[in-house]
């Protein structure tokens, strides 16, 4: 009897904590959604956490039309910078981590330790010297000045090595060699498939890291039309005091800017779960 009461108590307590945390995590986003759906005049005059007249369509068309549609351009830039860098960066990291896991060669451990040291080097410490190097090449304020440095993901190499060791058996590679398959072809047709759930994890981590990167574009880019959406929203937000009508656009823009990642999470969640739990399958 005592046990049952105790477990009921535990259940209620645990559920209460979870619900409270759900409120904490979701209310700000709910506020953003509700706020983005209101007209300017109702934004500050109506209940902040509930809808008034639905004005989202007008807000969106104003956002997309503002200054020749610069916001859509920013969204496109972000998707190019982030999607491109994460996709290419994941393939490069996977190949390097795979080679470190599956081949013995002189200097292997030294190379691995160098890459691991790279994980501890904060990306922001690189932004300034990268700017100086690119400015010597007259290449600052270009797409490439942000895109190329974003390709490098040492943590991805580290993860790829661990996952390749765990999920690609040596016997399989031996068998492929006996069948006459080249090393590179074996990687793309067999090994990469076995590593796929892990690669999704690496891709997502890389995607979020580049999507969040702020200092590099802030230092590198002067031309507003090259901005990623984070830098664009930041630049609007700094002007809110001079141009108050920008505030509404910042709120609607903030809502739109988080949608692609939420969609990516929902879409990749299935793979990601199996990737993270890779060690749990015996």
């Amino acid at each position: 009897m005592k046990g049952i009461r105790e477990s009921l108590f535990s259940r209620a307590g645990a559920t209460a904590v979870m619900l409270l945390c759900t409120l904490y995590f979701l209310v700000p986003i709910w506020w953003l959604l509700v706020g983005a759906s209101k007209s300017r005049s109702q934004f500050s005059s109506t209940e902040p956490l509930w809808f008034a007249d639905f004005h989202l369509g007008d807000n969106l068309s104003e956002l997309f039309a503002y200054r020749d549609g610069v916001f859509l351009r920013w969204m496109g830039n972000s998707i190019l910078y982030t999607g491109g860098a994460a996709l290419l960066g994941t393939i490069l990291a996977a190949m390097c981590g795979y080679a470190l896991a599956k081949y013995r060669f002189p200097g292997r451990e030294a190379l691995f330790n160098l890459v691991l040291g790279g994980v501890l080097v904060p990306a922001t410490a690189l932004a300034l010297p990268l700017f100086l190097i690119f400015s010597q090449l007259n290449a600052t304020n270009t797409f490439w000045s942000v895109f190329l440095p974003s390709l490098v993901n040492p943590f991805g190499v580290y993860l790829a090595r661990i996952y390749a060791t765990a999920s690609v058996p040596d016997e399989l590679l031996e068998a492929a060699r006996l069948d006459g398959s080249g090393e590179v072809r074996t990687f793309f047709t067999i090994s990469a498939k076995l590593m796929f759930p892990a690669l999704v994890t690496i891709f997502l981590f890389h995607f979020v890291a580049v999507w969040n990167n702020f200092l590099l574009p802030l230092i590198m880019l002067g031309n507003e039309r090259l901005f990623p959406v984070t830098l664009g929203l930041y630049s609007w937000n700094t002007q809110v005091n001079q141009i108050p009508e920008l505030r509404m656009l910042v709120i609607v823009g903030a809502l739109i800017s988080i949608l692609p990642l939420i969609v990516a999470f929902l879409f990749l969640q299935r793979f990601w779960r199996s990737g993270l739990g890779a060690g749990s399958v015996k």
């Binding site: 535990s10 645990a14 559920t15 904590v17 979870m18 945390c21 759900t22 995590f25 700000p28 986003i29 506020w31 500050s44 902040p48 490069l92 990291a93 190949m95 390097c96 795979y98 080679a99 081949y103 060669f105 190379l111 040291g117 790279g118 904060p122 990306a123 922001t124 410490a125 690189l126 300034l128 010297p129 700017f131 100086l132 190097i133 190329l148 390709l151 040492p154 006459g180 080249g182 090393e183 990687f187 969040n212 702020f214 200092l215 230092i219 984070t230 830098l231 929203l233 930041y234 937000n237 005091n241 709120i251 903030a254 800017s257 990642l261 990516a264 999470f265 969640q269 993270l276 749990s280």
Partner: protein, 289 residues
């Protein structure tokens, strides 16, 4: 394509990443160190500026720079409070998810993880509005506490960082919990351990490596604080241009004084590496016992 020697395949696998790593990691580090050893000299007041070797002069200026060291102290204070709170909450939520005490695990996991989809800059802008007394939905709270005042703004930022990263850290710890084999729990049950005791004496020690990993990433992230304070400068006058070490680097480089900014960067990178390395070593020694 059949490559006879594995050497060619090996180069094909390693070179693309290796070259980019050299160009965009090693070269900038080397370049920053070189820049930090130079200084700009002018002949006369209006003469042309030339870069000459200055030895450790910039580093001397870094060590004598009061605002920089108080910004380091500020982020350390931030980290000492925020990292344990964030990871404690992440651990608690992961344990609750794993305990089987709550229904709707899929929903909760997703709900907690959604803030991670919000970029730091956007999260800071959003919370900046939520803290502003005239916009906030929590007027009773914002009218009694000024979240953007000099005393409070550091902890307001800590809340933003916590909000974004709890779910991410929870997911890493949770996936480590899922990897624990069931037999371990059965043994504990036979020994008569209740759910709390199982959590504390079995689960937490087994997921320690995941907790250590998330701690190291959090330490690195804390020392790099930039987006949140930079955004909060538009909401609060209490955030100066040297509020965090990275803001100091940014504002020094926009003076522009690249040599001094490079020295700040080098010191900050070394401090970050040293701190995360020390933490890793300390926890490894503790784990040996």
């Amino acid at each position: 394509m059949r490559s006879k020697s594995p050497v060619r395949a090996l180069l094909f696998f390693i070179l693309p990443f290796g070259l980019l790593f050299a160009a965009f990691y090693l070269l900038p580090i080397g370049y920053a160190i070189k820049q930090s050893l130079y200084k700009v000299q002018r002949t006369g007041t209006f003469g042309p500026a030339t870069e000459v070797f200055g030895g450790f002069e910039q580093y001397q200026r870094v060590f004598e720079n009061g605002p920089f060291w108080s910004s380091v102290g500020r982020v350390l204070l931030f980290g000492v409070v925020q990292v344990p709170v964030m990871l404690g909450l992440a651990l608690l939520l992961a344990l609750l998810l794993d305990s089987g005490l709550v229904k709707g695990r899929g929903f909760f996991r997703l709900a907690f993880f959604v803030p991670y989809a919000v970029p730091g800059v956007v999260a800071a802008i959003m919370w900046g509005f939520l803290y502003s007394p005239n916009l906030s939905p929590f007027t009773s709270l914002t009218s009694s506490v000024d979240f953007l005042s000099a005393d409070f703004v550091l902890w307001s930022m800590a809340n933003v960082v916590t909000w974004v990263y709890v779910g991410y850290n929870m997911l890493i710890i949770y996936s480590a919990l899922l990897a624990i084999p069931q037999e371990v729990y059965e043994a504990a049950k036979i020994d008569g351990a209740g759910p709390w005791r199982t959590a504390w004496s079995i689960k937490v020690p087994l997921v320690m490596p995941a907790i250590i990993l998330t701690t190291v990433f959090s330490i690195i992230g804390t020392l790099q604080l930039l987006a949140e304070p930079q955004v909060f400068r538009t909401f609060s006058s209490a955030v100066s241009s040297t509020y965090t070490p990275n803001l100091t680097v940014y504002s020094t480089s926009s003076i522009p004084n690249f040599n001094l900014a490079a020295a700040f960067s080098v010191v900050l990178a070394l401090a970050t590496c040293a701190l995360s390395f020390t933490f890793l070593k300390a926890t490894q020694r503790g784990g040996d016992k």
